[in-house]
Subunit: 315 residues, 3 copies
């Protein structure tokens, strides 16, 4: 396994979830794989869950871990060719990335959408330069368009908590004060399309996700109809794709409260975290017994560990 | 041992000091305890000694260590319920803390007094939420009202350097340009009250520490009288408790210089560090052979290691 | 080996390079040396290569590593005696350094030239206080006047890529938008003078390096003449030594492009990185097969590992 950027990279989802749950039972059983192997985690953006859970996953496998905050510990990086570098960027990504590749066996990279230019974000310029130039397996720790470690952990969590073979899973938009990337919902759509679930996406008009993700996915603009019969409610805010990076609504009638949850089939509540309480979801819902956000976060270790283990096996 | 916040948590002080000195002799003898165990150190405030010494203690015990600077590496955290989170805090402590608890076996937390509100600080809101919500043993790396790893290291240092069974220990206020929390003096008082020492506190009027710490403790407002016969001088600045967080005096006649030390019984000089030279203590005193501030800092490893070892044993 | 600050500290260069290349073949063969040993890496200035490569080297040897960013994770440090510390520096280096020494077995320090005062920089005040006060072996991770781990890696790289017994090595100044320290060129001069190479330095008038480094070294002000017959071109910018810290020229006729490289004996191109493209060197040259900057960066692990190994052997 040479890269983990999207759902296709993990292969059969049932096998992947099974492997993750097996690692959850025996997290320290594969430490021979990581001996004298090093993972470098590069953060262009800040992180709590991803930083700690990926570090933990790598340590569970016996690896050494180095964390680097680019733009803070290190340098700002130029990524264009032909630039006379007389400004604030002292290093080119075409040197920085292969150098980092010399110091490790696996690289994890977090680089969010910048919302300056849709084409730049959706072409995954930063991530692709790591793949092209590092010479090492690359794990996305959330890129401009996807957050696959999160979606994999979401799927593991659904598998653990489902009470029927084919549960109904609803991704619902919810309001937020800031413009947030589409990485988490894009990725969740991608994974749910490939999972054995009934999947519905609901959001106000104008919040349609990118067509390349949504092909064949059911969209229900009426949030109540979407919630009916749901076994899992997955809430998330995102900014508009069509009016790229814009906030079109802060309509708090979309906030997931007890009344919304009453429309469902006693659904579990999920969110990738961090979550803005009383914007995305009320205190009451997120603290209810049906909220599984902490279990979901806990599974971030095992989605990461499955991916890293497969990479170690292929080195 | 499920928490280490105050002197009561360590139990018998003689036994604790003995165990620490034994670990100092054989720091690597208990690495089986920490194998595949992880400690997360959370810093809401910056740190040099605590960060390095606690990390070292955990590594001596064979643990994995992850360090997280909240407000910098991570996010600002909301701690109130019922808040519509549409401001600058993207995450609630009621999610962040249980999530961190999923990624480790022991949590260390540093969270200083904010000096905005005495009741908030003295109720230890942040630390108590870690205890309530993390599901894991919690070590204070200095809280709003106490710094128990420091006081434990101080006690070890006194035990190593005392030349009589029951030495006289004096805690003296000294001037400082900034308003400093009462955590170190509160904690030192709490530990000395429980130790086999003659204990006196001296400070200008208006600098009385919180009554719940000072019950039964001798206060001598005349610094010279307090110093007479002292075997250990423990200097520290703190801001006023009664006029909460205020600087009432920068009187440099309280600075510990050679003349002050001449009043004592050839006392050792102690300070938790960092120390403002020529405000708290003169260059001459802190560089004298009677200064044991470096030995005191070195013992931070073994106070931390004793606490972490006991927690590992109880997991 | 108690310190590594300059070329004299490593002893015989041929033996050192041979040891480094042997470690490159078997990086994990000496992990018994580092067991239960800790290195602390202190950065007063930011770092990518040095941080990651030194950490990797220490982990290859089985050590524990702690990284501390002073001025950021920790505190600003006072370094003068007699100062009444009532300003923005809460700690004196005469406490901080011996305390850090208590928590580790080896210390690495990065502290750049400040360009405020030539005498201060060239007296290596910060580094020398670590040597004087820490009580532990000290490795320069780039000081005000030298970058010996870089120069050692450069020498290893030349040894690997040379095609004749005594290659011609040219250090050339090149333009840059900011005032850069002389540490890398000083150090490179120092190592090349002691290596079995024909060595020439070329730069515009006014960019003469400090006399104590340049004694006996050939300077050729005509860049073309210097490049003729060169087997290795080592490009680097530096600010003026005589007009200390000033930028006297940004003359891009000194930028190393294909035409410059055509003057050489099919020379390899070297640079310590980070490099400003199209200021120091063109995209074309740095991406050409003759560019060995990535291999050079990779050797940073093995220069560091050789030094740390020798220090561990002498503890």
């Amino acid at each position: 396994m040479k890269r983990f950027l999207k759902v296709e990279d993990i292969g059969d989802l049932n096998a992947a979830v099974k492997e993750a749950l097996s690692l959850k039972q025996n997290p320290y059983a594969h430490q021979h794989l990581g001996k004298n192997k090093t993972i470098v985690l590069i953060f262009f953006n800040s992180s709590l869950r991803t930083r700690l859970s990926t570090q933990k996953a790598a340590m569970n496998l016996g690896m050494n871990v180095m964390v680097l905050d680019i733009n803070k510990d290190g340098w700002k990086l130029e990524s264009e060719l032909g630039v006379v570098m007389d400004g604030d960027k002292p290093e080119h990504i075409r040197e920085a990335v292969p150098v980092i590749g010399q110091y490790c066996d696996i690289i994890g990279v977090r680089s969010f959408a910048q919302f300056e230019n849709k084409e730049d974000d959706y072409s995954e310029k930063i991530l692709n330069q790591f793949i092209e130039l590092s010479g090492k397996p690359v794990i996305s720790l959330e890129s401009a368009t996807r957050h696959p470690l999160q979606s994999f952990a979401d799927l593991i969590t659904i598998e653990e908590h489902k009470t029927k073979a084919r549960p109904k899973v609803v991704l619902t938009w919810a309001p937020h004060p800031r413009a947030l990337p589409q990485a988490v919902p894009n990725s969740f759509v991608e994974w749910m399309k490939n999972a054995d679930v009934e999947f519905v996406v609901t959001h106000p008009k104008g919040y349609e996700l990118a067509p390349e993700f949504m092909e064949g996915v059911t969209v229900e603009y009426d949030q109540k109809k979407a919630f009916e019969g749901a076994d899992f409610i997955y809430a998330k805010n995102w900014a508009s794709y069509t009016e790229y990076g814009q906030i079109l609504s802060k309509d708090t009638s979309w906030t997931v409260d007890e009344a919304h949850m009453a429309w469902t089939n006693n659904a579990k509540f999920m969110h990738c975290l961090p979550v803005r309480r009383n914007m995305i979801v009320t205190d009451g819902v997120i603290e209810s017994p049906n909220s599984i956000v902490i279990q979901e976060a806990a599974n971030r270790v095992f989605s990461a560990q499955t991916v890293i283990k497969r990479m170690l096996e292929s080195i």
